[in-house]
Amino acid sequence: MEEEVKKVLIIGIRGALAQILSRLILENHPTWEILGLDARSVSNIPKQKGLIVKKIRYSRGSFENIFRDHSFDYVYHLARVSHSTNNHSDFTQRLELNVMGTNRILDLSLRFNVKKIIILSTFHVYGALSDNSIFLKEDAPLRASLKFPELRDVVEMDQICSTWIWKYQSKIDSVLLRPCNIVGTEIANSMSQYLKSHLSLKPIDYNPIFQFIHEFDMANVLYRSINDLPTGIYNVATDEFITLRKALKIVGGNGIPFPISLASVMNNFLNLTHLGIAPYLVEYLKYSCLIDNSSLKKHLGDDIFRFKMDESLKLIS
């Protein structure tokens, strides 16, 4: 018997994770149809049977038209704008896109009877603070913006989703994922770039503990969220953890040894992105922010991850 055709919307298709996810969905369900949207150019995205990509402006009108024209079964919101710069105009734009944009996507998903929405947040929302407990659970306070106010759009977006998914749980299934550092050969996030860069600052005065997940494993969690994760918020991390210095050693990044506590001060005057370090990342290079994965494992099992942490790190070196 032929499988029922499902329609999937992936917002933020230009991202590596979204592209791996689309491949994964179509490999497992060749009859499904995916519409991938992005505000950035989509011309370089490899063509796949079943995937249509479109460049759109992230505005209420554009999204409304898209939702009206298609009856999506599943929506992936992977379009959180990265917080890797501290430029004020970027921040205002980020606030608009991440907070207001997310609100619109949630609202439209509800209005147009989407079966399930899966939203990608980040573990950064918990914040890197010296008094962090180990293995923060999903109900831990989100303190990222206490130390670094430029992260408040990320926290705000997460909080909007957290409130929303419980409010409308009887009408729509929703999953909010807070992954640890995603690394891989295709993904180009701040952490991957930091680890690989030969010009980035390597702290000599702190040595926080990190969790890493391979991009393929993360895409697999996103994929399995459709059928295997009930409505809720989930941290995504493997059981393994590693000190920053060991991780850098595995990747082979020959950065510049530097007291990162001075970098915190310099961050107020300089744009540290030129030194291979996103300003928000400074705090995460000082203090650990480890997340608990027991909720995720409860639903997906103990053997969900294909890549060991050192394998994931070696692959990006």
Partner: protein, 282 residues
């Protein structure tokens, strides 16, 4: 300060045993056996020859997981380092105690990282629970900075213990070992406290000692008998139900403080003995 041949041999034995014990241990703070080795190399000569630490009650300790609870004295947490040294060096089955440190210290550059590598981590409930669940032993100072930063007139006065540590022991069902340290107060015998200035500088306290380097006060560590926690008491029990058990720990520590103060060595005998020896020779 040079170690005797016997101490050198004992040190090597300890390292080998620790290597074996912790070969598969990995904690989420960056525990590093090589850093521990380096720390022991530095602390041991002071432990043996400068503070001339004596340990009483070694027979009370078995090779198992405990919550070690001690009085806190001496302006800087040298007492913690010496207790940790004692548990690594004086027993057939050495182990690295995980000291619970202040939030302030855990966040300091270099120091926070070094502490974490040697097993001393932020004194947080979840951290304690995790360590006890891994069969590790933890060292807690329930008095916190109130204990360590006492003015001269309050030396050896045990401050009231809050009940948090006992609730953790209850939850983990681990026996509590009471420890009394005698001598650490005399490392910095004359101290003034400047709490207001400390607060302005963002410090938990600001002791102003007469001497900047600790004096060679002889240290005695008294290890009490392990006290089992009740199995039928919830860790969320009301304070009035927990308090008598906490007082039992306090009393046990106080008793050994009093005993230790009576039996302790003369503070300046380290200086006086060589002079007396010299005079005798003359």
């Amino acid at each position: 300060m040079v170690l005797s041949k016997a101490d050198q041999q004992q040190k090597e034995k300890v390292f080998n045993k620790l290597r074996l014990k912790y070969k598969d241990y990995n904690d989420p703070w960056g525990f590093n056996l090589e850093t521990i080795k380096q720390a022991l190399e530095i602390i041991l000569p002071f432990y043996k020859n400068y503070f001339r630490v004596r340990v009483f009650g070694k027979e009370n300790i078995k090779d198992t997981s405990y919550m070690i609870v001690s009085n806190h004295t001496g302006q800087v947490p040298i007492d913690g380092a010496l207790i940790t040294m004692a548990f690594a060096y004086e027993f057939d089955q050495p182990r690295v105690l995980h000291s619970m440190v202040e939030r302030f210290m855990a966040g300091l550059p270099f120091i926070g990282d070094l502490s974490a590598q040697t097993g001393a981590i932020l004194g947080d409930r979840d951290n304690c629970k995790w360590l006890l669940s891994q069969d590790e032993s933890i060292l807690v100072f329930p008095e916190g900075t109130r204990g360590i930063n006492k003015s001269t007139k309050n030396f050896y006065k045990l401050q009231r213990f809050p009940s948090g540590f006992y609730r953790i022991a209850l939850q983990a069902q681990r026996p509590i070992v009471p420890i009394s340290v005698i001598g650490a107060e005399e490392m910095f015998p004359f101290v003034l406290q400047a709490p207001k200035l400390g607060k302005k500088l963002g410090l938990p306290s600001l002791p102003i000692p007469f001497n900047l380097f600790p004096l060679p006060a002889p240290i005695d560590i008294y290890i009490g008998k392990p006290i089992n926690v009740p199995t039928n008491l919830s860790s969320d029990a009301p304070e009035k139900e927990i308090r008598p058990y906490v007082q039992e720990i306090e009393e046990s520590i106080k008793m050994n403080i009093e005993k230790g103060l009576k039996d302790r060595r003369e503070f300046f005998d380290r200086v006086r003995n060589p002079i007396q020896d010299f005079m005798k020779k003359l």
